[in-house]
Assembly symmetry: C2
Homo-oligomer: 353 residues x 2
Amino acid sequence: MKFKIALLAGDGIGPEVINEAVKVSDAIAKKFNHEIIWTPALTGACAIDAVGVPYPDETHQICMASDAVLFGAIGHPKYDNDPTAKVRPEQGLLLMRKKLGLFANVRPTFTFPSLIDNSPLKRERIEGTDLVFLRELTGGIYFGEKGRRDGGETAYDNCVYTRAEVQRLAKKGFELAMTRSKKLCCVDKANVLETSRLWRETVQAMEKDYPEVTVSYEFVDAVAMRLVQWPNTYDVLITENLFGDILTDEASVISGSMGLMPSASVGEHTSLYEPIHGSYPQATGLNIANPLATILSAAMMFEDAFGLKEEAEAIRNVVNKSLEQGIVTEDLVAKGVKAYKTSEVGDWLVANL
Amino acid sequence: MKFKIALLAGDGIGPEVINEAVKVSDAIAKKFNHEIIWTPALTGACAIDAVGVPYPDETHQICMASDAVLFGAIGHPKYDNDPTAKVRPEQGLLLMRKKLGLFANVRPTFTFPSLIDNSPLKRERIEGTDLVFLRELTGGIYFGEKGRRDGGETAYDNCVYTRAEVQRLAKKGFELAMTRSKKLCCVDKANVLETSRLWRETVQAMEKDYPEVTVSYEFVDAVAMRLVQWPNTYDVLITENLFGDILTDEASVISGSMGLMPSASVGEHTSLYEPIHGSYPQATGLNIANPLATILSAAMMFEDAFGLKEEAEAIRNVVNKSLEQGIVTEDLVAKGVKAYKTSEVGDWLVANL
Ligand SMILES: CC(C)[C@H](C(=O)O)[C@@H](O)C(=O)O
Ligand SMILES: CC(C)[C@H](C(=O)O)[C@@H](O)C(=O)O
């Protein structure tokens, strides 16, 4: 098979981790007789520097013409201190999500046996944790009308959802649940919010189409608690944009493997794969960043975007092997133990595929 | 001194835990020569059953005429499965907050040395945790216009804040920080929301009035992570209503002492004190519920509402003593160890004050 992948390396360590993911993807493609055509494009702070906007139209065209997008990370400290600045890297992210119609953010959280003791939580609380959040990504309060009135003294943000938006996301949730343990949790705040009541009634109405799936409904505050208490009691969770932002980040730290977590944003036109970590500016150019989250995101891409399960498994297996054998970057080694460079980890994975 | 306290026991275990808090408060009053006049009033499911609404006007009048309100818990399973029902206990809560102008919810989270191993987090992560959230409680998306359009197919909730609302809450935050370690964290989502940008600019403008306070600004998703990773790096946190709902509940489970956490809601007309736990319907009438969170809420009331620090300390000391000596309800004892009844704990505290 032949694939066109848009390559959005972004800022900070983005280019370095993307580089390793490309190496591993190319090696997999070679091994399984596929051809990948990579098309690099600018996004984030580097795009602002180059052309004045964080998601240039040219980048958008490249993404639209691709079978998938592989994304590094964006953000630069010079934009950090002023979230009210006119042009900021994150705006590119939101614009990209909206224009590409990336409506479902898929965020798995699972444990690696060799990393479990990195978790702030006790081992017995997290063993067996293997959950997936589906976060709605193009609606809600992120994209509703916002502004000021009363001469700037009053600010407002509107949260809006349509039934169709909820159905689209929930459908993905039910389908994913069917491939896993058939448990779905709808996270809302239906005791307070009208949008949440729409979410709940819409999901309730869909239950009859998936008679095998057991659906539970939990309030967002209760989930924020139970994620810390008993993360391994969850399987597939669906939720709206803002709740998803908060809960997926909370969930990412419980497994102890945050630096390794991949994600996907599934869309109408294409889908995008990216590590959940940020652009880690302090490490830029030092060849020390952990490339595994990006490489595991590439594995998700092979499986979900191209339907190539075996290729994805091959990547995951070699990543597991590197973890077991301690071929890892400095974030994963104990003091005094030899750490490998970003590019060395990539080279090792390619050699051991 | 002489105090009038409205007594809102509520539903489930509410009456049982309130009963013990009254016993301890009366004993403290006697010891320190104060007089308390308690006025019971209905709220929650029991109010719906009795008079058809969850926060009757008579209850409101009693609260308005009081120096403080002591609150148990509300909620009953018969209202649980349908958050869209016309009349529900939580509506009483929201109405009460709004009508009493309870704009600042004060939620401390701290550890008890004897309970630290109950936490899902590792001991070294939580030792020394002692933080306070100030959650804005009468504004934001909870109280903005909400509804449907397009024949019910579209739902909306408006989030609105005025500068004056932010200033009022932030002022409490700065003042509280001055009495503690002079660290204040403003939690927002200023990279996405206009209301958050108003929060941030308002707090930034107030910094000059509190030159000794070090203020940090963090995004809500980052805080959701760091609360699990390093809760002991926080001190005073201020935030808007919905973020506060999620984060205070998340924070409550990290210390391992959730069943003991008190809270206050400070208002324009009066202030209200309540345990953070719920109405625990399964335990109703069994005399097994832990009364300590309610008793510690009464301690907050003595200190903050009446300015009686010594009285508050006396309550906290005897609670600590009961924990050290294992005079605790079944939720806090290991299997096989003798548990005390709700009322026995209260009796012991009174006898040992
Ligand atoms: C950078 C920010 C706008 C973004 C979001 O809130 O969606 C980020 O936190 C994320 O979760 O991808
Ligand atoms: C019951 C509910 C309306 C309430 C809230 O969301 O404020 C509760 O979760 C709380 O935090 O007191």
